[in-house]
């Protein structure tokens, strides 16, 4: 995708929609396209949170290894979804493995660069924090719904 094409793509994406053209241009410059195959790890538990990702195609599984039970799947993320909301916090480490379950194309954004730019340009940083807050809210709501075990037997 050309740089102009990428800027347009980010501007249309529900996560970035509404950001200033100069912010979209900065992000398009930073974005690094990645292609991963089934079975690859995007990152592993304990890794430093180096990037955040925008999934364009494929399926990524967040897993945790539990002795005796193997890999437990926490959640899957697919096209259009954002992975890695913890990048706004410095020195965080990944708490799950992210494994590729269907061949995946994604855009990676360097976390240290995003944090540095956010410190220098608070408007940019605030816009991004609002968007990550929405992602965190959605994940929390989804977790609460699953805690309710809605499809379980009525008691």
């Amino acid at each position: 995708m050309s740089k102009a094409g990428l800027e347009h793509y980010l501007g249309e994406h529900p996560f970035f929609r509404g950001m200033r053209p100069k912010d979209l241009a900065w992000l398009a410059e930073l974005a690094e396209p990645l292609a991963l195959e089934v079975g690859d790890y995007l990152y592993r538990e304990g890794d430093e949170s180096k990037d955040f990702y925008l999934i364009q195609e494929g399926l990524v599984r967040l897993e945790i290894h539990t002795p005796g039970r193997g890999e437990l799947v926490i959640q899957t993320l697919g096209p259009g979804e954002v992975l890695g909301w913890s990048v706004m916090l410095p020195e965080t480490r990944k708490t799950f493995d992210a494994r590729i379950f269907q061949a995946t194309r994604l855009l990676a954004f360097d976390a240290a660069a995003v944090r540095k730019h956010s410190e220098e340009d608070h408007h940019f940083g605030y816009e991004l924090c609002k968007r990550f807050s929405r992602v965190i809210g959605e994940r929390l709501q989804a977790t609460r719904l699953r805690l309710l075990d809605l499809y379980g037997q009525p008691h």
Binding site: P14, L59, R61, R69, G70, E71, L72, V73, I74, Q75, T76, G78, P79, G80, E81, F101, E138, Q141, A142, L145, R146, L148, D149, L150, Y151, G152, Q153, P154
Partner: protein
Amino acid sequence: MVNPISYTPGQDPMQPRPFRVVRAIRETADVVTLELEAQSGPPLAFQPGQFTMLYVFGVGEVPISISGDPHKPARLVQTIRRVGLVTEALCKLGRGDVVGVRGPFGSHWPLEQARGGDVVIVAGGIGLPPLRPAIYHILHQRQDYGRVYLLYGARTPADLLFPEELKRWQHTLAHAPGASPVRVTVDRAEGGWDGAVGVVTSLIPVLPIDPLRTTALMVGPEVMMRFTISELRKRGIPEENLYLSMERNMKCAVGFCGHCQYGPHFICKDGPVLAFPRVRDWITRKEV
């Protein structure tokens, strides 16, 4: 499509008709599908979304949605989850056993109105069977609808209903190659499962639809439907295009007894399928 009738003409709606079980299919550990044939008289024509009252002699009677093909009414197909006394007795029935059937009752899915636009069908758990007749109808008249999606959430992979049909629908419901119209997610999975894990509502934000020309049909636990409505509204689908089936319990099924009163509505005769604006003021209240 068969003619809509609220109950078999000439028949007392309070009087059960005997139907014989011709096939009992064990779908999962706690769900059974019964295929029934009338012992005498006409088969039971119905509209997608309608239900019957199934009576197990000597045990009791419960409302159960019809899960079969409205274009093949000769066999009455109903899918039942075992939760208590009557559903347990229904799930134990086998070939040759006889049940009493009243109905069909209730309102139906707005499939005529949905023509020409996109359709999003959202099912949670035992919510898929009441939507299956709508899917069959759309498949019969596939060219009349735009993009059609089935979003289906279940507890675990072992709880998924109709897995073979889900695979078939992935092709037959598609509006274009690679469209992926059937999107299934489970709350919990270990090994073996190669699909999505997460709540069904998380499938909505990324769905490629034309919101102003989309009709949504949903059945599932009420909490799931509330969150589903909220996500569909965020996508810009007009409220009057959101339809849900309210499966609160009922007794008489013909609007006499008041057992299923939900705000100003009687689920049995105004519902079970209702447009969201009709239940908006009631759906978050506890004591209705």
